[in-house]
């Protein structure tokens, strides 16, 4: 009978341990890979040192079925370490590592501490832990890459006094996400809560978040890209008779950070801009208290500046990135233009009686120019627009984006000298 003590589980997901990184620098890519491994090693060491009862990896442990030799060895080593310490490992197949694709794990299947959930019809495993506590672990897996059905609906409702832990690599409606994520195995929070489990471990969405007292996404172990910022790791779940305590634990070796930076007229030249950027980043990272050499910082640049033309030059940007990262000893700095413009007075230009003013006027109210709209909507960009509304919205969005550029293109570049 359960409930004699408490159950401690480490909830992990979406490690994407063999993921490729979209960074131009091979060095950074290598660092990211090594660090991801290190993050996993940290999680394993944490589990061992804290003597947790079990580790749950709720899908997307792997990014793809192909695992290279060294990584395979590393993973075996880490998993063996866990299992050798008598820590139960609950592994649910995700959409990136659907059932029967990960040959790396085949050899662990015979291990009594290894529990794989690899069926799209739910599996239920009753586990008696060393403490004497008994847990019922229920999960459905992604049997193939495109599983979109709500398999959680089929999970059994809690029916005994043991600890019931559900797991699913699933999209829960309204969960906070970094972007458009395919709603694999979409389900809802009320659906999960109706099962009455002691804890429900989710995977798929990379942002660590607790949807309710007993339902949470662990997020991924280390950010994979600029969208996945801040501390990352997993959740330490402590279940006792009356409570579920869910505490975040960071394991990430490398941390991604993103900062918005407005380029103002004060940044008259690149040096001034570099200084301003470095100061801004330094201030931001000093709050984090994280070693800069393990930080990758993306800076979103916007604002009006005379440096506009320079900042549109890839080489200049690259030099600037290197200068700042060297100055702050950061692993990597990435400058991204999200709305830089020259410091023209667009309003004034729009008031003139010129073709540019007319163009600006058209861009403000394209609907008044059906002939133009007809021509625009024939462009490839609008081909996939599903609705008139979405097409119009898309057009407005694009017109907004190109306004400054068109002005810049129309205006002759003033002689810098």
């Amino acid at each position: 009978m359960g409930f004699c003590d408490m159950l401690r589980l480490l909830h992990l997901s979406d490690l994407h341990i063999n993921a490729g990184f979209a960074n131009k620098s091979a060095y950074i890519r290598e660092q990211l890979k090594l660090s991801l491994n290190k993050s996993f090693e940290r999680a394993v060491t944490y589990a061992v040192n804290h003597k947790v009862d079990g580790v749950m990896i709720v899908g997307d442990f792997f990014d793809q079925p192909q695992v290279d030799y060294a990584l395979e060895r590393f993973i075996r080593q880490q998993l063996t370490k866990l299992l050798d310490h008598g820590i139960h490992l609950f592994y649910v197949n995700g959409n990136h590592d659907p059932a029967d694709t990960m040959s790396v794990l085949t050899s662990f299947k015979a291990n009594q501490y290894f529990h794989i959930f690899d069926s799209d019809s739910f599996k239920r495993e009753t586990v008696t832990f060393e403490s004497g506590d008994i847990g019922e672990f229920i999960a459905s897996a992604h049997a193939y890459k495109g599983e979109q059905r709500d398999l959680v609906k089929r999970y059994p409702v809690k029916s005994n006094a043991y600890y019931w832990v559900g797991m699913a690599h699933a999209s829960v409606v309204n969960a906070q996400s970094t972007g458009e994520k395919t709603a694999y195995m979409g389900t809802t929070l009320p659906q999960i809560e109706s099962l009455g489990y002691d804890y429900f471990a989710l995977g798929h969405i990379h942002i660590r978040q607790q949807l309710s007292e007993r339902v949470a996404y662990a997020g991924n172990l280390q950010g994979l890209n600029y969208k996945e910022i801040g501390g990352k790791g997993g959740l330490l779940v402590t279940l006792s008779e009356n409570s579920a305590v869910v505490e975040p634990v960071d394991f990430n070796e490398i941390q991604w950070e993103a900062i918005d930076f407005e380029v103002t007229e004060r940044a008259e030249n690149l040096y001034a801009l570099e200084t301003a950027l470095a100061d801004n980043i330094a201030e931001h990272i000093s709050d984090l208290g994280y070693p800069p050499e393990r930080l990758i910082v993306r800076v979103h640049l916007y604002g009006r500046s005379k440096c506009y033309h320079l900042l549109r030059d890839a080489e200049t940007i690259n030099d600037l990135e290197i200068a700042i990262s060297q100055r702050l000893k950061l692993l990597n700095v990435d400058l991204k233009d999200i709305g830089l413009a020259n410091d023209y007075d667009l309003k004034a230009l729009a008031r003139e009686q010129t073709v540019l003013a007319l163009a600006l006027e058209i861009m403000d109210a394209p609907e008044r120019h059906p002939e133009l709209l007809t021509r625009l909507y024939q462009l490839p960009v609008f081909k996939d627009a599903a609705t008139v509304q979405s097409r119009d919205a898309l057009l407005r969005e694009h017109l907004e984006t190109v306004r400054a550029e068109l002005v810049d293109r129309m205006l002759k570049v003033p002689n810098e000298n």
Binding site: D68, S103, A348, R351, Q353, A359, L376, M410
Partner: protein
């Protein structure tokens, strides 16, 4: 808006200089480098602020003061303002409403009244310089035409067509709808396809790896299996090598056991039976021999035994009685001897007594004897004592003599006793007869001595008389001697007493003799009875008895000897019996053993023994082997419990060794094959870096996305711009062209009647009712005039509903002839009613407009 005056505290070369301006046309005259360009710049700065707004970079910052400081006095819609601008560490603008007195402080902003026209547009349209016009001369007609038709001479803007072209170029670099060339997106798509292909190939290779993996797995399992088998082979071979000698021994034992005939019978015979058998036989022989000796001995003894006749038998049968009789005879003889002795003693006594009594009394012996015999010596003595007591008082002296006499008597006594002893010895032992005689003599002496003493005893006085009477009475009839009464030493009495003793002894002896005689008679009777058994009284008993006893003695001896022999014989016989028993027992044992051997030999004992001996020798060999086997009991146990004992053989061990070698060979192959497969896997895995592929894919996808977005942006911009350009031209071009035609006609005094645009967007002129292309018609001057006409038309168009800004013409009329210049001034005069006009020139002005002469010193 009118600029009334500009006061330069410091502006480039202009220091503390005030430029006073009229509201219409102002001719500003100055030599080269007098500051005309500075003035235009200051007008622009006054209206729009400093450009650049940086003290270090602004070209008109005074070198010594490092600043610009000037102010303009302007009138807007009748309201006077003072506009003060400074460029020091930062730009500063102060606008003072001179009517209300309100002050507005700003930085580098444009003046609020010029907000509808950008500085670029102002610079481009309101400022026509000689440089621009001269530039026309070097430009191609096409370019001029474009500037005029498409841009209306607005030089701050790029031509729409140029912009579109640049965008087209960029777009073509990114993407082409006609799929020609290799625009970036196509490159990316191609690269992505390549990546996808590489990935698919890689995945296929990985899929193939599955085969390799399986192969590796199979090989690993095979190796594991082989290792197990090899281990088993080695272990089994080791075990078998250990068990083999055990088995060989065991087999030897089995073989030997098979050699043992009638094993069941053999096994029933204890192993020591043969030895026992032989021992028994030997023993039996020995015992039989011994038994024979004993038998012989018995026979000898039997022969040695005496055979008695009937009489002897009778005697022997009567032996007990005879023995008794023999004793009786002894008794008889003894009695006889006793009787002799007693008779001799009696006669001696009697003699002695006779002599004594004869000595004492002079009476017949018999009388004396009878008297003394009846006498009481004690009473006598008492009487005598009494007598002597009475007599003592007088006779004490005699007492001493008496005592002396008594001492002599004692010595006689001793002598008497010693002589008696000597007599006895002499009597007893004939050899000592001489001693007897001597002793007799001594005895006589002793007696004499004794008697001497007795004579000395004498009775006393009166009383003594009574007493003496009594005493005499006692001796009656005898007569007492005289000395008696004097015999105080009582010798007489002593002699009496002695005689009495002798009498007593004689009596006793006589009695004893009688008794002995009776006894002898009784003994004789007994003997006789013994001899005859009651009969034969007639035969002399003693002699017969003695003879019989003699015979008996001999017979007894013989009988004793017989008995001794008999005893011996009995012992021997007993031993014989024992031997017989032993022999029987041995025979029994032997036959028991023999029976077994007989059984073994199928009725033939020798055969049986031979078989047994052979089996036993085999058995010994077996037990040696068994002992060896049992020396390592564990090993033997494991042999006994070995599942497949038939496998314990050298051949099989060799086979195992061969198998092991084979396995090792196979293992080696499997190991190298496995290594090869693993190396292949590693090589394949190393060759295809999926994460790197993904990285590139991601980056390319992102780039494609960005480029697609860029393409879309460019396309949208192009569409918008083309549309705007078209629309702008359609809406404005007719008006502008009409106005250009009008102005051109005025400036050329009617020569150029109309400006037209052909279908193919070529400028054309109607000259003398003839349409001519621009390239054919124009001189430099006419071109300048056309350009001015365009500018003015555009200014009019731009300024339709906006506050009119000052127009600056900087050496614009160098190519004008006087007639056309005059006609042009007329046009300008009309413009001057709405716009303030600044005509900058280094030539002496000929027209009567407000003239400003720039100071010479500033131009130095």
């Amino acid at each position: 808006m009118k600029i009334n005056a500009i006061h330069y505290r410091t502006y480039g070369k202009l220091n503390d200089y005030t430029l006073t301006l009229d509201e219409g046309i102002n001719t500003i005259y100055g030599g080269n480098e007098a500051g005309k360009t500075t003035i235009f710049n200051s007008i622009r700065s006054l209206l729009y602020g400093f450009s650049p707004a940086n003290r270090e970079r602004h070209p008109y910052v005074n070198w010594t003061r490092e600043e610009i400081d000037f102010e303009g006095s302007i009138t807007v819609d009748g309201t006077p303002f003072r506009v003060m601008r400074q460029l020091k560490s930062s730009p500063k603008l102060t606008i003072l409403d001179e009517v209300n007195g309100t002050v507005e402080n700003k930085r580098n902003d444009s003046l609020p009244w010029v907000a509808d026209i950008t500085d670029s547009l102002y610079e481009s349209i309101y400022h026509l310089t000689a440089e621009v016009l001269i530039d026309l001369e070097t430009s191609s007609w096409e370019r001029i035409q474009e500037r005029l038709i498409f841009n209306y001479g607005m030089d701050y803007l790029n031509k729409s067509s140029d912009v579109v072209q640049a965008m087209t170029q960029e777009l073509n670099g990114i993407w082409r709808p006609d799929r020609r060339g290799t625009p970036k997106l196509a490159q990316i798509e191609q690269r992505l396809r390549e990546l996808t292909r590489t990935r698919i190939e890689g995945e296929q290779q990985y899929d193939n790896l599955k085969g390799l993996f399986e192969n590796v797995e199979v090989l690993a399992q095979q190796i594991q299996r082989i290792d197990q088998q090899r281990k088993w082979c080695i272990a089994t071979a080791q075990e078998l090598n250990k068990l083999l000698p055990v088995k060989q021994k065991h087999e030897k034992i089995e073989m030997l056991k098979r050699e043992q005939q009638h094993l069941t019978l053999y096994e029933k015979i204890p192993e020591d039976y043969l030895v026992k058998y032989h021992q028994l036989k030997e023993r039996l022989q020995e015992i039989t021999a011994e038994r024979e000796v004993l038998g012989n001995e018995c026979e000898t003894l039997e022969r040695e035994k005496t055979v008695f006749n009937a009489e002897e038998v009778q005697i022997l049968a009567n032996a007990a009685a005879l023995e008794k009789a023999s004793d009786t005879l002894q008794h008889y003889e003894l009695a006889e001897q006793q009787l002799h002795e007693l008779s001799a003693a009696l006669s001696m006594k009697t003699e002695q007594l006779e002599r004594e009594l004869g000595n004492l009394f002079e009476a017949p012996y018999q009388e004396a004897y009878e008297t003394v015999k009846q006498m009481n010596p004690v009473a006598l003595k008492t009487a005598l004592y009494r007598y002597f007591d009475m007599k003592q008082k007088d006779e004490q002296i005699r007492a001493a003599a008496w005592s002396l006499a008594l001492g002599k008597k004692r010595r006689y006594g001793i002598l008497m006793v010693a002589s008696l002893v000597g007599i006895a010895i002499g009597w007893r032992f004939p050899d000592f007869r001489a001693l007897a005689w001597l002793s007799m003599a001594a005895f006589g002496i002793a007696i004499g001595g004794m008697l001497q003493r007795q004579r000395k005893n004498q009775p006393t006085d009166d009383e003594l008389t009574t007493v003496a009477a009594n005493i005499e009475a006692m001796f009656m009839p005898l007569k007492l001697p005289d000395y008696f009464w004097t015999d105080t030493s009582l010798i007489f009495v002593g002699r009496i007493e002695q005689a009495a003793g002798l009498i007593f002894e004689s009596d006793k002896l006589s009695a004893r003799i009688e008794a002995e005689k009776e006894k002898r008679a009784a003994l004789e009777t007994v003997m006789r009875r013994a001899l005859t058994g009651g009969s034969g009284n007639d035969m002399p008993v003693i002699l017969t008895l003695q003879m019989t006893l003699q015979k008996l003695k001999a017979l007894s001896k013989a009988q004793y000897e017989n008995e001794r022999l008999q005893d011996k014989l009995l012992t021997l016989k007993t031993r014989c019996h024992e031997f017989d028993d032993k022999i029987a027992a041995l025979n029994e044992q032997l036959s028991e053993i023999e029976l077994k051997f007989l059984n073994l030999g199928m009725g033939n004992l020798d055969e049986g023994i031979a078989i047994f001996e052979r089996d036993q020798s085999i058995g010994k060999r077996i037990s040696i082997f068994e002992e060896e086997l049992l020396s390592d009991i564990a090993l033997y146990d494991s042999f006994k419990h070995y599942e497949n004992p038939e496998l314990i053989n050298e051949r099989y061990i060799e086979e195992l060794e061969e198998l092991r070698e084979e396995l090792e060979e196979t293992r080696q192959k499997a190991v190298s094959e496995k290594s090869a497969s693993e190396a292949e896997i590693e090589a394949i895995k190393a060759a295809v870096k999926f994460d790197e592929l993904d990285s590139e894919h991601q980056m390319l996808t992102a780039e494609r996305e960005a480029l697609t977005a860029r393409r879309d942006q460019l396309m949208i911009m192009m569409e918008v711009l083309k549309y705007a350009d078209d629309k702008f031209r359609r809406e404005n071009q007719p008006d502008i062209l009409n106005r250009v035609s009008q102005l051109m006609a005025e400036m050329t005094l009617g020569k150029y009647q109309k400006v037209l645009i052909s279908e193919s967007f070529d400028l054309q002129f109607l000259v003398d009712d003839e349409v001519m292309p621009i390239s054919k018609a124009f001189s430099k001057g006419t071109l300048n005039q056309l350009f001015l006409a365009f500018r003015l038309a555009v200014i009019e168009m731009i300024n339709r509903d906006k506050p009119p800004l000052p127009i600056v013409l900087d050496e614009a009329f160098v190519n004008w002839d006087d007639r056309r210049l005059a006609a042009t001034y007329k046009v300008l005069e009309d413009f001057a009613t709405r716009h303030q006009l600044f005509i900058l020139t280094c030539h002496e002005p000929k027209h009567p407009y407000h003239l400003v002469r720039l100071p010479e010193e500033t131009s130095s």
